[in-house]
Symmetry: C2
Subunit: 340 residues, 2 copies
């Protein structure tokens, strides 16, 4: 398309400034020894021609691409998206571009993308997944950081949300409000996001005079299941009867929201009769819920950002190893404190 016009080469700048290409390079990169006047002259010529050095050629000579790959196992959905954005953001600060590669849960696709990233000689790769389940590591000749979904190899560098801290914060919050009998509602029972949060909650409650009531309830990650689970928790309770619990901790905002709806339907007041907490701080759910949800913000953007920092360090020759926990943040709203 636009070939001859528009594209300015270093030789064009050199010609206009009346110097050699190497001098232009030195002037623009502040290297070598040149007279200030020469630098200024070159700078002006470059400015006038709108010269933007070809990053491709620069990469070739620098033997690195100033590019990292963002390999997303799933289609960059609810969870990996913020991670990717946080990472991209941190990278831009380091003058590095991000190549997006979404694998859509297809191993063949993923392999193809990995190959493509290797071909492009990316300086490093950030791998993200849809869930926090450990995933099979990729084998490439450059640094890799696993974000959100850790690598199955503990030697690899991974950054994952600290769900334990999140659920502990929930337990402390509820008990500090005088809630003692807490039920737990998880999502899919085969996922760590369900089971680990349960364990954390139980442990934390024990340490704060609280009790986890009943067995954990597992189902699916939907509002529908949240509603159903509330029925299971309440049993054949009728308005006026003493309630079996004074709080329900849900493993996601979607569940919590469904739960709130069902509690309302059954005439149970939130938070007066039962306090409710969610998880994820997904504004679409937390703010639309009646009442708005107290929840845990896993700060995924920050997690992505941190992953990028680790990757940049590794690229810079300071590799890290092992799983790093990224801290969450408790967000208090009306579903636990009526006046909050």
């Amino acid at each position: 398309m636009t070939d001859a016009p528009g594209v300015v080469r270093i030789t064009d700048v050199a010609a206009l400034a009346g110097v050699s290409p190497s001098t232009v390079s030195k002037a623009l990169n502040d290297t070598g020894s040149l007279r200030p006047a020469t630098r200024a002259k070159v700078r002006e010529a470059a400015e006038r021609l709108g010269f933007v050095p070809d990053a491709t050629a620069r990469s070739l000579s620098a033997r690195r691409s100033f590019t990292v790959g963002l390999l997303s196992t799933d289609s960059a959905g609810r969870f990996s998206l913020p991670v990717v954005l946080g990472a991209e953001n941190a990278l831009v600060g380091g003058q590095i571009s991000a190549l997006l590669a979404t694998a859509r849960h297809d191993a063949v696709r993923e392999q193809h993308h990995v190959r493509s990233l290797v071909a492009r000689r990316v300086d490093g790769i950030i791998v993200t997944g849809r869930t926090t389940e450990p995933r099979r590591p990729i084998r490439v000749p450059m640094p890799v950081v696993y974000a959100f979904a850790p690598s199955q190899d503990p030697q690899d560098a991974s950054v994952v949300p600290d769900d334990d801290a999140g659920m502990t914060a929930v337990a402390e919050h509820l008990t500090s409000l005088g809630r003692r009998r807490v039920a737990y509602v998880g999502g899919r029972g085969d996922q760590a996001a369900s089971t680990q949060r349960h364990d954390s909650l139980r442990t934390a409650l024990r340490g704060h005079d609280g009790t986890l009531v009943g067995d954990p309830l597992y189902g699916e990650w939907s509002e529908r299941w949240g509603r159903l689970a509330v029925d299971l928790v309440l049993g054949d309770h009728r308005a006026g009867d003493p309630l079996p619990v004074d709080a329900i901790a849900f493993a996601s905002d979607q569940l919590a929201r469904g739960g709130c709806d069902r509690l309302r339907d059954r005439g149970v007041r939130v938070p007066e009769d039962v306090a409710v907490t969610g998880y994820d701080d997904w504004d679409v759910m937390t703010l639309a819920s009646r009442p708005p949800l107290t929840t845990v913000d896993p700060q995924l953007e920050r997690l992505g950002q941190r992953s990028a920092e680790l990757l940049l360090a590794a690229i810079d020759g300071r590799p890290s190893s092992g799983v790093e926990l990224s801290p969450p943040r408790l967000v208090v709203r009306a579903s636990t404190m009526g006046d909050a």
Copy 2:
């Protein structure tokens, strides 16, 4: 990091196969004239060494990068994300990688990203936005396609969702079910997504023996406003009274969901008394809603894909111009047909 080991150059393959680098290039790219035996020998050597040609070097000599930029005005949110994914998907098919650049509504950031994309000599750029409001075009020496948010310059190539067709489908669906008195609830009144859908709905209803009842209601894009708007539509209606409308078309699924909740609260049955439609086909809303929502799927992934196709064509020397409408799809669920 991993420098000497891992990185295989074409000369390494040449040495192993006992031929010259140029022969390797020809063998691997199926060019030149070589004996099949030679090709096979080279292929095997390349395979054994795990040779992946350096895309950077290839780009330099090909004078194109086989890369396109995905410039997202906002942080790749609800709407631009599917567009970006669709585009990335289509590009991969063409052996092209996608550079992600999110501007976060900051003109300075955007300028920086544009410069970076130009420096990387991307073959083209797809620009997306958060809303369908026309946006200021970017000036770069390569083809550009605007997706979702069209360019203000009608000469530029843009692909936007065909909201008119979407709302027309809603009108036809409602009237075919015998609904005649339809109210419309929009989001922000200063956005085309609100106002244009209103106009389309009114026009389409007229053509099908329907009436748009009352003035359009504008507020914000939240469930809260959806709930409020229902109160405005129903006024002081009480259970048993004749209803002022037999259908409400909302401009988004969030609005529709809030509306459904409010209708339930007030004892109005959906869809028996009032049919409800949403817009966007956001499963989180449509499926969790009680009842599930009939809505319009703007097929944004497809839009993104189409944008990529147009861009690839432009890169290939077949530029297009003007605004192309991307077709939506009506998705019928229980909020209009109880047994669907």
